[in-house]
Amino acid sequence: MVVQMRCGCGACDEWAMVELQGEVRLQVEDSGAQPHELDLGEFCADQGSGKAAFTIGYHRLQGKEEKLKRPLAILEAAPDDGAQGARVLQVVGVIRRKFIFRDRPRALITPRDAATLRTKKKPGADFFAAARKKAKADSLQ
């Protein structure tokens, strides 16, 4: 089997990447929301210093932008080429820099509230608004 590799449209365009340690889990079990409608969190980055902050749920992450040691090409399977169903993998973009969050996440709520959250099926929207307000109050210095 032979798979051709090609540069697709926008192959040289630089994509962005955000890297987090561990995984992001849904607090809301079955809200019925589609994955692409989910609000992941609030992201803030400072162009000059390269520092970044990310608030996901009640966690706040500190990180920075880094240049990748070796670029990553993003591959996408292209529709078969017609001729004998030849398979093609296209480069659709390149990643040269990433925002990486390595520091341990900081909880913006007390441990008791966190325990409460874990027992509730669906936390109130005001819960997260309060957390975000607190995050905004801390500046990025």
Binding site: M1, V2, Q4, R6, G10, W15, Q21, G22, F43, L89
Partner: protein
């Protein structure tokens, strides 16, 4: 996929493929190099965002939204590897070409495209391997002649050239083809293959006229003799060898390098013996080859060892001759004024 700018350029130019059979580990081949493709898993989560989303991420307005287009927790890495040529040998040696009388067997024969699709090697590495195997195209299939038939055709070609009065440094292809076709049909592709195989490189500059590499031709005759009888008194070998070739062909111990080892006879040390030791019959993998070499002799002079080590170079960094010597041998210098010997590491 982890890349560098050189690889991106190669992909852009075309000619980069990923290939393999269902049970193979995938390889990525550029024109010249073969890489194994490895997947590296991470416990981290990577979110990928399209080019347009960057403005939203950095210094974006309060209400701007950056969309994650894809999630990944692994990437692919490339590690340069030696080309996997065993399959090529298996494919081509399954039905060696033994002449026009061979039983027609289209099932096992493969063309160049099929070989290229199936063998995990770059085009450059594949070409080199095909040249080393002496492969040629016949009726759309890649063939390797059986050594018996090839020698048979070479022998007839040499004697035909001699009897037609052709200079061996200027053998006309058309002339020999016609002459050889008269008595027993030899396919012109086969004649051309033998001419190509046994001529000086680039000798076909004049188009249709070939300058034979006499040493290479003579060595082929010696190979036949050594195959017939594994142990010869050297002078008997030289005499018989001379007999089988037209006058003027070179006959010398030096041409036996890679075919036989010259040693004084144990029972009669003043008689030099030629003992069959064929490079082509030794294992192809370096570790096994060196084991076989040191099983035959504990210490080797470079001039004897060279013909058995140099063919291991397949063009990758770890098969370069000096790298192999460093890895599998140690230098011994029993005599300060004599050249060093190589022993097992």
């Amino acid at each position: 996929l982890e890349v560098d700018d050189a690889l991106l350029d190669a992909i852009r130019e075309g000619g980069v493929v990923i290939k393999g059979g269902d049970d193979d580990e995938a390889v990525l081949c550029t024109r010249d190099v073969t890489y194994a493709v490895k997947r590296v898993d991470s416990t981290n989560t990577m979110w990928l965002l399209r080019p347009g989303e960057r403005e939203a991420l950095v210094g974006g307005r309060e209400d701007s939204v950056a969309r994650v287009a894809a999630v990944a927790n692994s990437h692919l890495e490339l590690v340069e590897v030696a080309p996997r040529l065993e399959r090529l040998r298996a494919m081509l040696l399954r039905h060696p070409y033994a002449g026009p009388d061979e039983a027609p067997d289209a099932a096992g024969l493969v063309g160049h495209a099929a070989v290229r699709a199936s063998v995990q090697a770059s085009d450059t590495q594949l070409s080199r391997a095909l040249r080393q195997l002496g492969a040629f195209e016949l009726d759309g299939a890649l063939r390797v002649a059986s050594s018996a038939y090839q020698h048979d055709v070479l022998n007839r070609l040499v004697w035909t050239a001699f009897s037609e009065g052709y200079e061996l440094s200027a053998v006309p292809e058309v002339g020999v083809c016609e002459a050889m076709n008269k008595d027993e049909a030899v396919r012109s592709e086969m004649v051309r293959h033998v001419l190509l195989e046994f001529s000086e490189p680039d000798s076909d500059v004049l188009g249709g006229t070939w300058s034979l590499d006499l040493g290479k031709v003579a060595t082929a005759y010696a190979a036949e003799l050594v195959a017939e009888k594994p142990r010869w008194a050297l002078d008997q070998l030289l005499a018989e060898w001379k007999e089988r070739m037209p006058e003027g062909m070179p006959v010398s111990a030096e041409l036996l390098r890679g075919l036989a080892l010259l040693e004084p006879r144990k029972e009669a040390p003043d008689v030099m013996e030629a003992k069959a030791f064929c490079e082509a019959a030794l294992p192809r993998a370096p570790a096994q080859r060196f084991a076989a070499l040191f099983a035959e002799r504990a210490r080797w002079a470079w001039e004897d060892l060279g013909p058995y080590v140099e063919p291991l170079d397949v063009g990758t960094p770890d098969t370069k001759t000096d790298v192999l010597l460093m890895r599998y041998t140690r230098k011994i210098q029993p005599d300060a004024d004599k050249p060093p010997l190589y022993g097992k590491r």
